[in-house]
Symmetry: C2
Subunit: 250 residues, 2 copies
């Protein structure tokens, strides 16, 4: 008899990954949450060029990357013939690290943020984690609603981002943890709201503040906008920081 697996909402998967996050931004050791992307090996040079540009422009969470080649294992899968895989830092890593710092952090949704003249204006589309079995950023990428490349060129466009909420009482520890993260090269904070105020035009829970982080999958969105085939599995698994290197070292 075939194994019957019940549907799993993204929020449950996120809780699992956050719980298993052990990355310590001060020692730069431990495991962080990564996305996996697969491309045809013939597109390698083009994709690396795009990734470098996107990562150097700060359009992702971190410039750290691990390249996987044919036969390499990644979680439960093996990279296939003529394929190259990239493990990159997932923005939910920030939630995992904040949780381990003792903050009640609640990832809420992934969405598209409209940037106008370089400034984030508002969320135009959102999918909440607790109500979808497919990762919101994967969904939004495949809907071809992003214009990340245009945003890089003109300062105006739509990029992938996500929102979490935290109790306002935790403001100080959030600030210091995010600052430690930046020192370790994990950036991408788009906006930290004031308690009880809307953030990028969406409401936050009373006595909470919203934190918007750039989606780790924006580089993949640019690859896709260029018509290069790429398959992305967001929030794929965990990986030790020590296994990754800066994209400029490739």
């Amino acid at each position: 008899m075939q194994k019957k697996s019940r549907i799993q909402f993204t929020s449950v998967k996120i809780e699992d990954l956050m719980f298993r996050t052990t990355f310590d931004p001060r020692t730069r050791e431990g495991d962080l949450i990564v996305n996996l992307s697969l491309i045809n090996s013939k597109d390698y040079d083009d994709v690396i060029k795009i990734f470098s540009m996107a990562m150097n422009s700060g359009l992702t969470v971190s410039p750290m990357i691990k390249v996987l080649h044919e036969g390499d294992k990644f979680g439960e899968m093996t990279i296939g013939k003529d394929e190259v895989g990239f493990a990159t830092v997932c923005s939910i890593t920030i939630d995992g690290v904040l949780l381990k710092a003792g903050v009640m952090i609640k990832p809420k949704f992934g969405g598209l943020v409209e940037i106008r003249d370089g400034l984030p204006v508002r969320f135009t589309n959102v999918l909440t984690y607790q109500s979808t079995t497919i990762d919101p950023l994967e969904v939004l990428m495949s809907q071809e609603l992003t214009s990340v490349m245009e945003m890089l060129r003109t300062g105006t466009g739509k990029i992938l981002a996500n929102l979490r909420e935290a109790p306002m009482i935790a403001r100080d520890i959030i600030d210091s943890t995010l600052s430690d993260m930046v020192d370790a090269g994990i950036t991408g904070i788009l906006e930290v709201g004031e308690p009880n105020t809307r953030i990028l035009d969406v409401p936050v829970e009373r006595d909470h503040l919203g934190i918007v982080v750039i989606g780790g999958t924006n580089p993949m969105a640019i690859v896709q906008e260029h018509g290069i085939p790429i398959r992305t599995n967001a929030m794929s698994t965990l990986m030790s920081f020590s296994e990754m290197k800066h994209i400029r070292e490739l």
Copy 2:
């Protein structure tokens, strides 16, 4: 200054369309909710063949259709050059008609149902309406997770479907209304659950029953599985039943 429109969750759009539904299954008059699909006019013959097959196999809500040609208006849009549009019945019509019959009906989510040997087994993916700004069935189509054609050929595959809940007290009026709908050619009921039992492996609210209806966008999923470009705007607007004809009359 550019108009700023706040995000609108699918559930709000659905409430609006249900409220405006006036279709009466007994007189077969009034407006029902339709999906709009756009194709290249050169693909017309292939698409009509697929639509006919899908609709004759009961893989959609209704065989009624309206074909729109270049210059035709549909809601606020106009069909473009070398384009053909199809308005087809959306499964949320069933919710609109039940609401107008006085039933507290609550559309919950769209998802994929695994069919094995012709029998629906379980939901494998779901997206709830109240937490996404993009229609779940559009999302699932674009993720290329469907295997509707394979299901037609072999009896096993994944098709688009959606779930609504209603209070168990309304059971009789639901049964009679659905029966009137069938007489009027609006079918596609995949399963009506017993109160307080799981339906296709998802739980329903206490003292409620779940009703699973086949997605009106399955024919479009087949078109896409054949590699023919098609753009679908599910739950697009309302249309008078009198404007539509049976697909065999095309």
